[in-house]
């Protein structure tokens, strides 16, 4: 036994040495500050999910000189939603299914493949995934790159060699579970969640041990408190939520077992409060009239202890959701002066169309302000925290309900915002879509005919389908907004040079002024952009900006999935709003890296 301990210690020392050599930063960061070491070790940049780069070589004055430094084809022509990671002198890119992980050498101009790792996920997973076969990125810590595969495994790979360290099966594709989200690593815990909300999957967040890949805890989104990891420490802000086993009692008998609430979006971490924050997806797979009740804890944000998973508070954005308003968007952790008082808040631009400012210690909603055209609800009652739902916009089988705004993807979907501490603005990529819902067509699955719900999405007021909005969360108002032809399905990036970067589905990578929104520079890529731009300092000491092209995802499935533009109901109705996308973008899958001359 002794020799094994000695060997373990040796390995630990070796890996920490490697960590030091590549100037790896795992230390807790000031909540609102970006990583200042020039690396980009997780999809959101920092634990607060600001996607803010403190690098300032590229500025609003010189960004017009930006040019391609190098590019790289991933060879996977599907929707590329991932953020590239940069650790030391290596960039890591994970592709959509088949989830290839590339390590690219940033020295000597950059782009040479150091190694590639192929997890070879089960091909059947493609038929289970709802909305293209995307992956939202990897995470780095302690010499390991960790990411999820479409067939519901989490893998850890040696960042230096590409050797597989562990691979853990977390879900079952044969029951409809896939995994698409980017993990978050907190100390020695890897936090991951599942996808597959429409298929009767029961949602969960799971913590794995970073060293071994063993499952440490799993917190379900529905069911009895012991499954949801609700215990004595649970103190939600609103009294109505302080009742035992709401994950059971807010459903018809047994329906919670297949109640969805999947965890396919973003996780943030506050090291000071030692809380992780994440949201759950919409309820399913029953039609709404078959699941009366609030359907807890779907469309909910949770605050949990990363070590144990224990829930500290929860807040349900959309009780008894009927519109597919998942609550999985990013939460940006900020310290803001609200009504003259410094508050630890999280800012959440939510799918239901409101920007929520929530006290992140207690779960109290401080404000909830519409940032888009919303008619499915009329605001949030701040006394109870409850969304005031418009009953006339509830889809009912056998009835045509028109002009439901926002449409099923919400006013804003997964595409993550960026925050600049220099401007105190949140840069939100989002969409402007409404929908009609009617029961018309006969549909068919696995030998069972039924009457399908025909969903047709289309541009909301103004006729544009996408926007980038700079939002002032303190004053709860729009500072400026840019209209785009298509939904802005890419992430945003803000930099200390007062530049905001984002991509469009019609193939433009744009740099705009963080204070005014003025277009400073744009570059036309080969395919539309739905990925997450990042910025890093290369081994040559210079600042770069990187983004993947490759249109797809739910919004771009018409191109990446070769859907028929005449089939208005395809991709759950999204195709109707995207018929002209094929005229503006073909498939892609190329990494673009930009620098100053």
């Amino acid at each position: 036994m002794h020799w094994r301990n000695a060997l373990g210690l040796g390995l630990a020392l070796f890996s920490s040495l490697l960590g030091a050599m590549s100037t790896v930063s795992d230390r807790p960061q000031a909540v609102a500050a970006g990583s200042d070491d020039g690396q980009w070790v997780r999809a959101a940049g920092d634990y607060a999910s600001t996607r803010y780069s403190p690098l300032a070589q590229i500025t609003s004055a010189n960004v017009k000189q930006l040019r391609v430094a190098w590019s790289f084809s991933t060879g996977v022509p599907r929707g590329q939603e991932a953020a590239p990671l940069v650790v030391g002198d290596t960039m890591y890119v994970v592709t959509p299914y088949p989830n290839v992980l590339y390590a690219l050498d940033l020295r000597a101009g950059g782009g040479a493949v150091r190694w590639k790792y192929e997890p070879k996920p089960a091909a059947a997973a493609q038929g289970v995934a709802c909305c293209d076969v995307v992956n939202r990125g990897a995470a780095y810590a302690d010499g390991r790159i960790v990411f999820n595969t479409l067939d519901a495994h989490t893998v850890a790979v040696d960042a230096r060699t590409g050797r597989e360290l562990w691979k853990t099966k977390l879900g079952e594709i044969n029951r409809g579970e896939t995994m698409t989200m980017a993990p978050l690593i907190v100390r020695d815990r890897v936090l991951v969640g599942n996808s597959g909300g429409e298929l009767g999957v029961r949602g969960w967040l799971t913590a794995l041990d970073l060293n071994s890949g063993a499952v440490v805890w799993r917190a379900y989104s529905t069911g009895p408190d012991r499954d949801v990891l609700i215990g004595p420490a649970f103190r939600p802000f609103y009294a109505a939520d302080r009742v035992a086993n709401l994950g059971v009692s807010t459903w018809p008998a047994e329906a919670w077992r297949i109640g969805s609430g999947t965890v396919w979006g973003w996780i943030s971490y506050d090291p000071e409060l030692d809380l992780v924050y994440y949201g759950t997806g919409n309820p399913g797979p029953w039609n709404p009239e078959q699941r009366p009740g609030d359907n807890k804890w779907t469309s909910t944000i949770f605050a949990r202890r990363p070590a144990t998973g224990e829930a500290v508070w929860a807040y349900q954005f959309s009780p008894h959701d009927v519109h597919d308003y998942d609550a999985i968007n990013e939460q940006v952790l900020l310290d803001l002066d609200i009504k003259g008082q410094r508050r630890k808040v999280l800012v959440r631009p939510e799918r239901n169309g409101y920007v929520y400012v929530i006290d992140r210690a207690t779960g109290e909603v401080l404000s909830a302000t519409a940032f888009a055209h919303v008619n499915t609800s009329q605001g949030v009652d701040l006394a109870t925290g409850r969304l005031n739902v418009s009953e006339d916009k509830t889809p009912v089988l056998g009835k045509v309900v028109r002009n439901i705004c926002p449409a099923a993807p919400g006013a804003k979907d997964w595409q993550p915002s960026a925050w600049s501490p220099r401007t105190s603005l949140l840069y939100m990529p989002h969409q402007n879509l409404c929908m009609d819902v009617e029961a018309v067509e006969t549909s068919y699955i696995a030998g069972t005919p039924f009457v399908g719900m025909n969903v047709r999405m289309y541009a909301g007021p103004g006729g544009h389908r996408g926007q980038l909005t700079a939002w002032d969360p303190v004053n709860a108002r729009t500072a400026w907004t840019l209209k785009e032809r298509f939904p802005v399905w890419s992430g945003a990036l803000a930099t200390a040079g007062d530049v905001v970067f984002y991509g469009t589905m019609d193939r433009w990578f744009k740099a705009v002024h963080a204070r005014t929104g003025e277009l400073l520079w744009q570059f036309q890529t080969g395919s539309g952009i739905i990925g997450q731009p990042v910025s890093y300092r290369g081994p040559d000491g210079r600042q770069y900006v990187a983004v993947l092209d490759g249109v797809g995802g739910w919004a771009g499935a018409i191109v990446s999935g070769d859907l028929d533009p005449r089939d208005a109901g395809a991709a759950l109705g999204f195709v109707n709003a995207m018929r002209d996308l094929p005229e503006h973008s073909g498939k892609g899958g190329t990494l673009w890296v930009f620098g100053l001359p």
Binding site: A124, Q126, G127, V128, A129, C130, E172, I173, N174, R175, G176, E198, L199, G200, P252, A253, E254, A255, I258, G284, P285, W286, N287, P288, E289, Q290, P292, V322, D324, P395, L397, G398, A408, A439, E441, T442, S443, Y444, I445, A446, G447, T448, P449, F450, V451, G452, M453, V455, G561, D562, L563, D564, D567, L572
Partner: protein, 265 residues
């Protein structure tokens, strides 16, 4: 010479005329009674019958009936025909229907429940299983009809995809009936007909009445053969074959005890 002859011989051995392209059928390899990889489903049998009538053989592309079925099969061009699609499904071009079936109540024969109507008061207390399709807010017609009657708490849902790692996953709702987890199930007819005498406990079934809901929801569906939307030529050939072999098609459906329904008036 020998190399050139080999494929020809292979075709002759299969009984097809040389040069006749195969009937390329898209089918689920694990979805009895409809189809499986061993050709044991009634869709398999009908495919073989139609291929024989067209003087060729069946070539299968297997694809589990999940999302993107049409896109990954007909749409991708890997196969040309879907056997057993509902009329009115606008993802395909269909022949005229060759049968109409209905959703049915199913119960263990020994219990003699004999449930026939959605308005049977016992449905308020019995535990009822229904098939869940999980297609964003939509379910099978009986699930909607029960909900409309306020029958909710005693209804259990069984995802129609089931656990695909097990045989004929769609039948897992009937396994629940056998296990006593539910008292009565409401399923699409062919499933009940086939499994009625094949499980540990014999089952009885009766068509759901009334045959349509006041909301316009029907419990019967007419089934046809589907092809790509513009493939009228193939559709017409299949229609001719169906017309000529109508009696044989009906014999296959009878052999699988597929419940038939009248066109509702």
């Amino acid at each position: 010479m020998t190399r050139a002859l080999a494929p020809l011989l292979a075709l002759l051995l299969l009984g097809a005329a040389p040069g006749t392209p195969p009937l390329r059928v898209c089918a689920d390899p694990n979805n009895l009674p409809f189809s499986d990889a061993r050709g044991e489903g009634f869709d398999n049998r009908i495919a073989e019958l139609l291929a024989a009538e067209l003087g060729t053989r069946v070539e299968y592309t297997w694809w589990a009936q999940r999302r993107g079925l049409v896109r990954h099969t007909l749409g991708a061009g890997t196969c040309d025909v879907l056997i057993g699609v509902p009329v009115g499904w606008d993802a395909v071009l269909a022949t005229r229907p060759y049968y109409r079936s209905t959703y049915v109540f199913v119960w263990p024969r020994a219990r003699a429940l004999d449930v026939r109507s959605l308005d049977d008061p016992r449905l308020r207390t019995l535990t009822i299983g229904v098939q869940l399709v999980g297609d964003n807010g939509v379910n099978t017609p009986p699930a909607h009809a029960l909900a409309r009657r306020g029958i909710i708490d005693n209804v259990r849902g069984y995802p129609v995809y089931g656990d695909y790692g097990r045989p004929h996953p769609a039948a897992q709702i009937l396994d629940a009936l056998v296990a006593g987890d539910i008292d009565v199930a409401i399923v699409w007819g062919p499933l009940a007909g086939y499994f009625a005498d094949r499980l540990a406990v014999p089952l009885a079934a009766a068509a759901v009445t009334p045959a349509a809901d006041p909301t316009g929801l029907s419990f019967t569906f007419a089934m046809a053969v589907g092809v790509r939307k513009h493939d009228t030529q193939l559709r017409d050939r299949l229609q001719t074959a169906l017309d000529r072999r109508g009696d044989d098609v009906r014999a296959i459906l009878d052999a699988y005890a597929v419940p038939r329904a009248e066109v509702p008036r």
